[in-house]
């Protein structure tokens, strides 16, 4: 990547911010630059000032998951970074337009990867996201193929993608495709958002899905969705 990915961090715990900064500094390619750190969403400069927003979902003891849709609509690419691992919350946040969900346990391994993927409008599936997708109980959930489910399950179990590839006797590239396809199918659920369109467009460009498949997805999205608690 030629230029830095500009990141704004919303988190009210200085220790967490410090940790994220240290991971960013330790990145050998120095691909990410932090442009703003705020403790509350009201202090944000706006989407023109950052490519990706790292968003803590609990600020000042209050859950702000319902802010995700508004922030996504205003043009932010959001990586939710939260101590919560409740699958229903993860699915809600993805539906609202967040690009990826990284639990604080998996931050060290996956946060930078998720930020870079979001900046490029490419899918990123963390293990907590894989868990939420596997357990999705909603009747309107996207249909996943058997291979997609198997790859997600092994990824959730903690295998590296190379190990998953060996286990399934396929290439690592194909493993990534299975897992990313599952994520892209979710871009068609919930309310429409610019970030989801960008993810779908990029997936078609990358050959991850066929343009014809998007039509099917759109039908899915237009179905009434059961209310989640």
């Amino acid at each position: 990547m030629e230029h830095h990915v500009r990141v704004a961090i919303v988190d009210d715990h200085p220790v967490v911010v410090e940790g994220v900064m240290s991971w960013i500094r330790a990145d050998p390619g120095h691909r990410i630059a932090v442009t703003q750190v705020v403790a509350d969403v009201t202090g944000l400069d706006g989407p023109h000032a950052a490519d990706v927003l790292i968003l803590d979902l609990e600020l000042g003891g209050r859950m702000i998951a319902d802010e995700v849709a508004r922030l996504a609509a205003s043009g932010y690419r959001i990586v939710a970074f939260s101590a919560h691992v409740d699958p229903a919350l993860i699915l809600d946040v993805l539906d609202a337009g967040a690009h990826a969900y990284v639990s604080k346990d998996e931050g060290r391994d996956h946060l930078l990867e998720a930020v870079l993927a979001a900046a490029a409008d490419r899918p990123c599936v963390t293990r907590s996201q894989a868990k939420a997708i596997l357990a999705d109980p909603r009747p309107g959930r996207p249909a996943l193929s058997g291979k997609e489910r198997q790859a997600l399950l092994l990824w959730f179990q903690g295998m590296s993608k190379a190990s998953v590839a060996r286990r399934m006797s396929i290439s690592e590239h194909t493993v990534r495709q299975y897992i990313d396809r599952a994520r892209v199918k979710y871009a068609t659920l919930g309310r429409p958002a610019h970030t989801k369109d960008a993810l779908l467009a990029r997936a078609i460009e990358d050959g991850l899905i066929q343009p014809g498949e998007v039509a099917t997805y759109t039908t899915f999205a237009s179905r009434p969705r059961p209310a989640l608690s």
Partner: protein, 382 residues
């Protein structure tokens, strides 16, 4: 796991209900018995002397119906003030009317209904405070006395009234007091019987738990005891890594033994946590994740199917083998599927650990990639 042996309904409630029922039946028998064997023959003996025999017979039948209704209510356990008093009032009105329709000079001799109305009061007000029965019996006596006064008061007349009052009302009050007094020892007897039943049930559960623990302890002794003897006698070297691992395995098994006795909603997860404890004390980071693959039923995928103890044993044996060999990290996942459970462990174990033989019903797979070891056990209900 021990099965619950205590039955659903509380024994004290059952026993107390049985004693109370015996008292209820006694009162029903007394009221109905008086109506059939006392009031009935009295009515028959004086047929022809009433101004209207048909009215007296109809009144007798009406009060018989009231007694039947009151008996049904009492035996069904109804204690509502409204219905009880409605029946009592109806009986009071009918009995006063029947008394008023008796031949004026012979009211006390020919009236069958006064005593009967009192018994209705005893029957339908049995579950009410005694004072309510007192009020009813007083009103009933006053009404009858009013009828008597209408015919003209003179001394033999009043003396006869007092005699009848003492005879019938006295017995009715005495029985009501007795029934309420007997309720206290009945409740005590029921409570005592309950305590005994509970103690027996507790003893049975305790016996079974002790037997289960003893069986598991004997099993553990076979492996833990030689190790401890060797360490105590100095024939086993505590510095030997193999001995240290063997100790860790036994420690984990002991923790599992303690965990097996616990009553938890998800014993498999609980036991896995107990096994992980020993590794965590060594500084190994263990995370345990659970999920349930959605079956598309719309139900939240959170409940794991119940895994029988033998299969849990085999799965946790496998987990212990991995956990004691891990260097720094183990990720344990438990995934519920439509027909079973998948338990997987991903760890950084340099050596290939000896995996315990897996029993029937459990499918174990493993794969090693450089430093990382993946082991998966699948248990299916079918």
């Amino acid at each position: 796991m021990t099965a619950q042996t205590v039955p659903g309904p509380r024994p004290s409630a059952l026993l107390a209900a049985r004693y109370a029922r015996a008292l209820d039946i006694a009162v029903v028998v007394a009221a109905a018995g008086w109506q059939l064997a006392g009031a009935g023959p009295l009515l028959l003996a004086h047929l022809g002397s009433y101004s209207s025999d048909r009215f007296q017979v109809a009144a007798w039948c009406a009060i018989t119906l009231i007694i039947a209704a009151g008996s049904v209510l009492l035996l069904r356990g109804s204690s509502r003030r409204g219905t009880g008093w409605a029946l009592a009032a109806a009986a009071g009105v009918i009995s006063t009317a029947a008394a008023a329709a008796c031949p004026p000079a012979q009211m006390l001799e020919t009236n069958w209904s006064w005593g009967t109305a009192g018994w209705v009061g005893v029957l339908v007000l049995l579950r009410r405070p005694l004072a309510e029965l007192g009020v009813f019996l007083t009103l009933e006596a006053l009404a009858t006395f009013a009828v008597l006064a209408r015919d003209g008061l003179h001394q033999p007349n009043v003396a006869a009234f007092i005699t009848v009052l003492a005879g019938s009302t006295g017995i009715q009050v005495a029985i009501s007091v007795a029934a309420r007094t007997l309720h206290v020892p009945a409740q005590q007897a029921a409570d005592a019987a309950t305590r005994e039943a509970e103690a027996t049930a507790r003893q049975a559960v305790a016996d079974r738990i002790r037997a289960g623990r003893r069986a598991r302890w004997l099993e553990l002794r076979a492996t833990a005891e030689p190790l401890l003897r060797g360490l105590a006698a100095g024939t086993t070297d505590p510095g030997n890594p193999a001995v240290q691992r063997a100790c860790a395995v036994e420690a984990a098994r002991l923790r599992r033994l303690f965990a097996e006795g616990d009553d938890t909603p998800d014993p498999l997860l609980h036991e896995l946590h107990a096994c992980a404890d020993v590794a965590q004390r060594r500084g190994v980071a263990v995370d345990i994740e659970t999920t349930a693959q959605s079956t598309g039923t719309g139900l939240p995928g959170s409940a794991l199917p119940a895994v029988p103890p033998e299969a849990r044993r085999a799965i946790t044996d496998l987990a212990i083998a991995i956990l004691v060999n891990a260097i720094s990290r183990v990720r344990v996942t438990v995934t519920g599927t439509a027909d079973g459970v998948i338990v997987s462990l991903v760890s950084d174990s340099p050596a290939q650990p000896d995996l315990p033989a897996s029993p029937a019903g459990l499918v174990v797979d493993s794969q090693r990639d450089q430093q990382s070891l993946w082991v998966e056990a699948r248990w299916n209900t079918t």
